[in-house]
Amino acid sequence: MSKTALQFRHNGRDVAIFVDGGTNLLVALRELIGDMTPKFGCGQGGCGACSVLIDGELHLACLTLAETVAGRSIETLDGIKQGPNLHPLQRAFADNFAAQCGYCTPGMLMAAKALLDRNPQPSRAEVIEAISGNICRCTGYEPIINAVLAAASSRARA
């Protein structure tokens, strides 16, 4: 099977891999790069567990043809810590007990980050809209919404 060479930035580092035709970005990240933070939840674009940022925009890795990210910058949950410190969103998710099984958490955090990166002071309705593509089966969403709002206000205070 012929493979295509592919280079892109992964959490600030340049990486190069060879992909089979049709490989999606989720498989590329997990199986070829070894970044297990994006999760497989459906492969249909319906759950958001594989959400990543491509050039700062929220995308679903499972619906992204890997070779379309050539030369672009991919950010996953693995890259959002600030040095040894948690990102304010990670802290807020923890403080608000916004994770139970934890499987949707990486995607939720990326969706929330995509929001706060361009709208640092969102309303509750904007938070709801921002996470609407991400399914959580455990929490009932309320703690997640509160966590994102808390992260926004902690950043405002900082």
Binding site: F97, Q100, C101, I128, S132, C138, I144
Partner: protein
């Protein structure tokens, strides 16, 4: 057109654990030479907080800070037998097993400490901050770390414990159904307020007020996670979910998360919860288990609220807008019941 509000209630109880084949779980607790403890389980944390609640139970029983305990779950080589994470049995059954194991380990720890302090073990107590001292004489103290070192390198003792909690099988009388299905029961009552659109049958959740009795909230934040998330699942079961929308016709099953309906973050409502604690005689620190029962009162409370709002009874789940609309049309329009 009009939108009508209504309130409905439901009250329930729920059995803790399973009764079939007996209901055992085991736990192992051991200390490393620094006085840090590992709990080995084959139980599963599927989000409910198994690791966290057994960690607190172990720390409380040992008398050490929670940071000194780590729970390792679900390895069939290292974790002793557990029936599994279902039937609301985690907190109660596994919690009891961990408690028993931690008690045994504590016994050895206190003996070892007694030997070091040259007192009787019965005269010692833990301060919960990592020290063991003579009752009434806090200055005659030794750290759990020093006890662990002494036990390992000097005394030749293993600070460890084994625990099992078994609810033996209760036979069922085939003729009468006489049986002991559970050892304790959790309780709840929930009030749901809804708004019903009498032209479309849409039902919107407005708010919920509830009281849940769980024996003891071993960790109120974990309890809150279960109750908030569980009530959401209750709303979902009441109004949205099924794999067979035209049951018992089996067609048109959903294939993805757009077709499988669950309330989104824009469909949720405020939920004000009170937790009551009537300790169960056989629960770890009296605890029962909130995991499953939290969804149950929501379904009927919502159905009853819909009746209060528009006067129709929907007895088939899920209560889709179509069922509500058909019922409203069949009775010739909404018939709001007295507000309550």
């Amino acid at each position: 057109m009009a939108r009508h509000r209504g309130r409905g209630i439901a009250s329930i109880n729920y059995p803790i654990g399973m009764n079939l084949g007996g209901d055992p779980s085991q736990a192992l607790v051991h200390s490393n030479p620094s006085g840090k403890f590992t709990v080995s389980l084959s139980s599963i944390d599927l989000g409910q907080g198994m690791k966290s609640v057994t960690r607190q139970i172990c720390a409380e029983t040992l008398g050490v800070p929670v940071e000194d305990v780590y729970v390792d779950t679900a390895d069939s080589d290292t974790g002793p037998h557990c029936m599994g994470s279902f039937a609301s049995r985690g907190t109660h059954r596994v919690g009891n097993a961990v408690m028993a194991a931690a008690k045994e380990a504590r016994g050895v720890m206190m003996e070892a400490a007694a030997e070091e302090l040259e007192v009787n073990a019965a005269d010692l107590e833990t301060d919960g901050r990592g020290n063991i001292h003579v009752k009434g004489a806090p200055h005659r103290s030794i750290s759990t770390k020093d006890v662990a070192i002494a036990a390992q390198f000097k005394q030749g003792k293993t600070i460890s414990g084994r625990g099992i909690f078994l609810v033996p099988l209760s036979d069922v009388d085939p003729e009468t159904g006489e049986m002991s299905p559970a050892t304790c029961y959790a309780h709840a009552c929930l009030v749901a307020e809804v708004e019903v659109d009498d032209e479309t049958g849409d039902v919107a959740m407005i708010r919920m007020d509830s009281a849940y009795e769980l024996g003891r909230a071993l960790n109120p934040r974990l309890v809150e996670q279960q109750l908030v998330g569980g009530a959401w699942m209750g709303i979902s079961h009441a109004l949205y979910e099924t794999t067979e929308p035209y049951y018992p016709v089996s067609s048109h099953g959903p294939r993805d998360f757009v077709e499988y309906l669950m309330p989104g973050p824009g469909d949720i409502c405020p939920h004000d919860i009170a937790v009551l604690e009537r300790p169960a005689a056989d629960g770890p620190f009296g605890a029962k288990g909130p995991g499953e029962m939290c969804a149950n009162p929501v379904l009927p409370a919502v159905a009853n609220a819909i009746f209060n709002a528009v006067g129709v009874r929907i007895d088939k789940l899920p209560i889709t807008p179509e069922k509500v609309l058909r019922a409203i049309k069949a009775q010739g329009g909404a018939r709001p019941q007295p507000r309550r």
